[in-house]
């Protein structure tokens, strides 16, 4: 790798690493610390092929690697997560907004990893159905159905109290 490659990689990190880390946290449902480990590991792959891929949309390559790693990590985390994130019974009620958000995040974490990844990419990253499909290596139809089913599940679990959600 040339010095110029190295400098470009640093620039790439400065511009993208926070966004990738956030994506990883959301997709994998992990703590920041665990997600950092995962992102570093994924970005090591990017670094390994950097001189080859830097001129060819490294951003989408990196996002794909990170999302895939986060999905596999999420699958392995599942059981422990449910223990770790189990809500203490007597949490004092916070403001309704905060509480709603927390519940949404809890329900989001309960979804299967790929379904959750679709929701994160579609609604948080604001990718199109096509972009999401390309990134996840599946069809647009799958993205559509996974997004719809994910939303439906969340809605169903929240609906007893949150009838307001459309």
């Amino acid at each position: 790798m040339t010095e110029e490659d190295e400098a470009a990689f640093d620039e790439f990190l400065a511009a993208r690493s926070t966004a990738l880390l956030r994506t990883a946290i959301l997709v994998c449902g992990a703590s920041q610390h665990d997600a950092e480990d995962l992102v570093q590991n994924a970005l090591e792959k990017v670094y390994r092929h950097w001189s080859r891929i830097r001129h060819d949309n490294p951003e989408s390559y990196a996002r794909r690697v990170v999302v895939n790693a986060a999905i596999s990590a999420a699958r392995r985390r599942r059981v422990i997560q449910e223990i770790t994130f189990a809500r203490p019974p007597d949490t004092p009620a916070a403001s309704p907004d905060v509480e709603l958000r927390e519940e949404l995040m809890t329900e989001l974490r309960r979804l299967p990893a790929r379904m959750r990844a679709v929701l994160v990419l579609r609604y948080w990253e604001d990718l199109s159905e096509n972009e999401t499909a390309a990134l996840m290596g599946c069809s647009t139809g799958t993205v559509k159905s996974q997004a719809a089913r994910g939303l439906a599940r969340i809605r169903e679990r929240m609906s007893p109290r949150e009838g307001v959600l459309g």
Binding site: E36, N41, I83, T84, R101, M105, L108, G166
Partner: protein
């Protein structure tokens, strides 16, 4: 408000405070340089690779076979893998922070349940089954957690934690092997000059029954390898046969060395995958039920240069004889 928007806002709020550390570039380059044993074993450990970065060598080794022995089919249904995989040893987690213990057990393929006053913020004072006991992957390890005493050593700083990575506890399942040339019923009569035994070994880390050890150049940190060898017997040899067939399907052709048909490939991190910049690897069946794999670390390979490294790899293969 629509659910999509509520959800997007909740996600945004959840990660708004997260910033990647500026040190990430350094950390990534360190990872890249340290082609540790575990990176090679990450190929075996498959899905555990991401987490394995933070755990000692022997954990990634132990975590490996469960995920892989039954092939790609096992990845979709976690339950199906469990029925056919060999038992693995429970890692020692007593004395760790609960969270750390969870991560370690998870990386090793176990589930965990926390009991006791410390909850999930305490210290692990007891574990069942005990460390070293062999149980099926996915087994629930019950941890007894005690509240951390105020005088106890606080959780080491992040840096110290990462420093710990440089001192992995090296497994030595096969005990003192002397020069490491005789194990698993075969003998490695040739090794490149300047390599010493890595003073560690693993039993059944690559499937049952398998034996592995490695050799290092001078000055390499413990747990890193220049050349690593695995001897496969029984079920593990059968699995390796399947992997060789996979290499063949990807276009690899065996070369004849010392009368054996040897596949020499660059093995990627995904099991059975050939990858342009993968680990130089030779695999062959020595006799029915006995197969051998020799891997050269990409660093060592680069240092020797392609031609010399290739020749050395062949000489190592040639030098392998059934043990006396």
């Amino acid at each position: 408000m629509r659910l999509e928007e509520e959800l997007a806002e909740a996600m945004e709020a959840h990660v708004a405070g997260v910033r990647a550390t500026p040190a990430m570039g350094g950390a990534i380059r360190r990872r890249h340089r340290s082609h540790r044993l575990r990176f090679r074993t990450a190929g075996v450990a498959l899905a555990t690779a991401a987490v394995a970065g933070a755990v000692p060598v022997y954990l990634s080794l132990n975590a490996g076979p469960p995920a892989t022995v039954s092939g790609p089919a096992a990845q979709s249904g976690q339950g199906t893998a469990v029925a056919v995989v060999p038992d693995v040893a429970v890692p020692e987690v007593v004395g760790m922070q609960t969270q750390e213990a969870l991560a370690v057990l998870e990386a090793a393929g176990f589930k965990a349940q926390i009991e006791g006053d410390g909850g999930d913020g305490g210290l692990v004072v007891q574990q069942t089954p005990a460390a070293g006991e062999k149980v099926a992957p996915g087994h629930v390890v019950v941890l007894t957690s005690a509240p951390p005493s105020p005088t106890a050593d606080p959780k080491p700083t992040e840096d110290a934690g990462r420093g710990g990575e440089d001192r992995p506890s090296i497994p030595d399942d096969l005990g003192d092997l002397g020069d490491g040339r005789r194990f698993g019923g075969v003998e490695f009569t040739y090794l490149p000059a300047g390599l010493q035994w890595g003073e560690g070994s693993v039993k059944d880390g690559f499937g049952k029954t398998s034996y592995s050890t490695w050799w290092q150049e001078d000055g390499l940190e413990p747990g890193m390898y220049s050349v690593q060898a695995v001897v496969y017997r029984g079920q593990a040899a059968t699995e390796l046969g399947r992997r060789m067939k996979g290499y063949r399907d990807q276009g690899a052709r065996p070369v004849e060395i010392g009368g054996e048909r040897v596949y020499i490939v660059r093995a990627g991190e995904d099991v059975g995958q050939i990858e342009e910049e993968g680990t130089p690897t030779a695999v062959w069946t020595e006799s029915p039920g006995l197969a051998v794999e020799v891997m050269m670390s990409p660093d060592y390979y680069a240092r020797l240069g392609q031609e010399k490294a290739g020749a050395e790899l062949k000489r190592i293969v040639e030098g392998v004889v059934p043990g006396r």
